[in-house]
């Protein structure tokens, strides 16, 4: 047998294994066709956080039991959203550790912890990580010291380690990257340290940066007229949560965060583009195709990084390609995702700051809602009516499920003082919490934002939701309850106390033909299945 023939035989033998192991962007684009896996942060590129699995149903969910529990190795807030590929679950642990687990048992297969300097600067959130991306045979993680690291999916060995930007100035990463064909897209955190936000694309093979798109334009660039003086230099606009992608339009949708400093807008007069916006970019070159600003000149820290959810629906007699966001500012927005055209905005939680949203989508603010020296009570609160935890869209019910936060804050204005790598917020809040705050899982008609049902919670939630083809919505509470509701009616069908606050996103996968649901709570990752 000559060498060529031998190679051919080896290829034939190995090809199926390699093919199964390779996570191509085509596979991610067809995530619905392999519901046993969960290939990207939100389950699919459209960011539905919906599982087509039907093993766990309204009728049997009451029997759900823990299958295994994994405890993280270092305490901290566990906000991870697992990825499952071909029998392996990839999770992150605080602050920036990646662990691969056997999905059958929860036994670790490998773990990787980057060396985080002791003087790492993380201002604006706890030092958390929300998950990884996978492409080919490589797992990608952003770190709190501002690196993007590529790990071999089988061993955790480092393929490459790229500095996204200098942590000395407060740049850091918490969100799961988004893996596309030939591009790893990642957004930066750090607006509370007065960074200038951006979104980057990296070559998955080499870690070389392909493009950078700033969310705050420099003088001369479009939108720069919305910043006074040098304020753009510390303008914030972090891109700290994972966006969505439409393969047909070849557009990436990404939310942007608050302008800096948070609560004193005096030095940054103007709309402060593209903060508190949704931007649609071409992933090839990073060019912004359109933008929509939800909260011009934000002064309440209402980032618009929330998950943009893509779906098609009939509207006024024709099928439209839509993108929806339950914004931190308490309005549910529906836009045309080809053009960015504003279609509607409906409050989904209590808000006291806007008289209304005009025909172009611009809020008409109520007077005397700015932060002040004596404190101004405004709803929603600083953390907003929504935050990083994911919503869910079910193509079966065509409902948008949102964990809504009902809470106000007395907003205080302070004096801004910029020092590199230091907090740059200029104010704060006094929370109206306890029995005066609450929350709900709400089901909204995805196209109109109209409330279909709600399930009340006693605290504003910081847990995302998952909907399933089994007719269920899973969610969590700050008190540690993990629960399942009827997706049609909101009726509670199952709950279990997990013993620690749930500040994570649920997801679902299958192994050996059996469906499981996973959520992190306290210092552990739980997996539930039927007996």
């Amino acid at each position: 047998m000559n060498v060529v023939k031998l190679a051919a035989v080896v290829l034939v033998v190995l090809a199926p294994l390699n093919a199964a192991a390779q996570v191509t962007s085509d596979r991610i684009a067809r995530a619905e066709s392999e519901p046993a896996n969960w290939l990207t942060y939100s389950g699919n590129y459209q960011a539905h956080r919906f599982s087509p699995l039907t093993g766990i149903t309204r009728d049997n969910v009451a029997q759900l039991k823990p299958a295994w529990i994994y405890q993280v190795r270092r305490t901290g807030i566990v906000e991870t959203s697992p990825i499952v590929v071909d029998g392996v679950m990839y999770v992150t642990e605080p602050p920036s550790t990646v662990t691969a687990l056997d999905v059958r048992t929860g036994r670790p297969l490998w773990t990787y912890s980057p060396t985080i300097p002791t003087d790492v600067i993380v201002i604006g959130s706890p030092p958390v990580n929300r998950g990884v991306a996978i492409l080919g045979n490589t797992v990608f993680v952003g770190t709190v010291h501002g690196h993007l690291i590529a790990l071999d999916a089988k061993s955790g060995a480092v393929r490459w380690d790229t500095v996204v930007d200098d942590n000395k100035f407060g740049y850091y990463l918490t969100s799961a990257p988004l893996a596309l064909d030939g591009r790893i897209i990642v957004g930066v955190s750090g607006a509370e340290a007065g960074i200038r936000g951006f979104l980057d694309a990296y070559d998955p093979a080499t870690g070389k940066r392909v493009w950078r798109t700033h969310t705050v334009p420099a003088p001369g660039e479009p939108g720069s007229e919305t910043w006074k003086g040098d304020s753009w230099k510390t303008g914030g606009g972090s891109a700290w949560l994972t966006g969505a992608y439409d393969p047909a339009l070849n557009l990436v949708y990404w939310g942007t965060g608050n302008p800096g400093p948070d609560w004193n807008g005096d030095l940054r007069q103007g709309d402060n583009l593209y903060t508190c916006s949704l931007i649609a970019l071409n992933p090839v070159d990073g060019k912004i195709k359109w933008h929509f600003q939800f909260t011009p000149h934000d002064i309440h820290d209402w980032d618009s990084n929330e998950i943009p959810v893509l779906f098609d629906a009939p509207l006024n007699g024709r099928t439209r390609k839509l993108v929806a966001m339950a914004n931190r500012n308490a309005f549910y927005y529906v836009l045309d995702r080809e053009t960015g055209e504003f279609l509607s905005a409906t409050p989904y939680a209590k808000q006291t700051w806007a008289e209304r949203i005009d025909a172009k989508g611009r809020p008409i603010r109520r007077p005397a809602t700015e932060p002040s020296l004596e404190g101004t009570l405004v709803f929603p609160n600083i953390q907003g009516a929504s935050n990083w935890p994911s919503p869910s869209y079910s193509p079966k019910t065509q409902l948008f499920y949102q964990a809504a936060r009902e809470m106000g804050t007395y907003f205080f204005k302070g004096e801004p003082q910029y020092k590199p790598g230091e907090p740059f917020m200029a104010g704060g809040g006094r929370a109206v919490n306890g029995d005066d705050a609450w929350g709900a899982i709400r089901a909204l008609d995805a196209t109109t934002g109209k409330l279909k049902w709600e399930f009340k919670l006693i605290s504003p939630p910081m847990s995302g939701v998952l909907s399933t083809a089994g007719g269920l919505v899973f969610g969590g509470t700050d008190e540690g309850n993990f629960f399942a509701l009827d997706a049609e009616t909101g009726k509670p069908l199952w709950d279990l106390q997990l013993g620690g606050a749930i500040r994570a996103n649920p997801m679902s996968f299958a192994v050996d033909g059996k469906q499981y649901v996973s959520i992190a709570a306290g210092y552990s990752i739980f997996v539930f299945g039927l007996p």
Partner: protein, 243 residues
């Protein structure tokens, strides 16, 4: 370290509002970060420990390290943070000794623990003079329903009303009244006036009434004289733990 004074506290307040208030809340009332308006802080038993936390942060809990503060600025922050949880020692209006005798005579100890002694139905008062000013202390026995404390601990949750009276009727028609100990959307835990714990699934109750605006502590308004009130406030103010 130099002694804390009003000017230090004022300087510290400015720094706090710029750097700390986002997580700890204006006035340290707590938000995403823990409340700091306690007389004692778990992780900072003394000022040196507090300086270390401000300087180095608490990495795994999300408290960032602050790099460029001078030692003096850190001292200002320490002075301010310490001022948040400590009610000033009030001017002596009443007589604490007489107040103590009154506390005994009124039977307060049947529901409150001071330095290890007393009943546990109501809040422990060993350090109440540190955490509460005289106006609140007076209100707490003249009109307790309007002065229910708001929790600073994770049980039942920061900002929740503590000692909230709750009345439930079970599916088998038992009626139980107690104070709320903990709650989540699906369950509630009570302690009744005999100090027994009860736990209920809300879906199995016929009635669940959280009686906001009420208190199971009796009001002493009209039952004791103004000078008795002064004496009782003086005694409660003198309860400052081991300090």
């Amino acid at each position: 370290m130099h002694a804390q004074n009003a000017a230090d506290v004022e300087q510290g307040k400015k720094l706090f509002e710029g750097m700390c208030a986002r997580c700890h809340g204006v006035d340290g009332t707590g938000d995403e970060g823990p409340a700091l308006n306690h007389p004692t802080l778990t992780r900072a038993p003394d000022d040196e420990a507090l300086r270390t936390i401000i300087r180095d942060g608490i990495q795994d809990r999300g408290m960032p390290r602050v790099r460029r503060l001078t030692d003096t600025e850190i001292s200002h922050l320490v002075a301010y943070v310490r001022s948040l949880g400590r009610a000033a020692r009030p001017a002596a209006v009443g007589n604490a000794e007489k107040g103590r005798a009154l506390y005994d005579r009124l039977g307060c100890a049947s529901c409150h623990i001071v330095k290890g002694s007393g009943g546990s139905f109501g809040p422990e008062l060993t350090e109440v003079g540190l955490t509460r000013g005289p106006a609140y202390l007076r209100q707490s026995f003249l009109g307790p329903a309007e002065a229910l404390p708001r929790g600073v601990s994770p049980v039942p949750g920061r900002g929740f009303t503590e000692y909230l009276p709750v009345r439930v009727v079970t599916s088998d028609e038992r009626e139980i009244t107690g104070v709320r100990i903990n709650e989540d959307p699906f369950t509630i835990q009570l302690r009744d006036s005999a100090n027994r714990f009860h736990s209920f699934r809300k879906s199995e109750l016929k009635l669940l009434d959280k009686e906001f605006g009420k208190s199971l502590m009796p009001s002493f308004r009209g039952r004791i004289s103004d000078s008795d009130s002064d004496d009782l406030v003086a005694y409660l103010s003198s309860l400052r733990g081991g300090q």
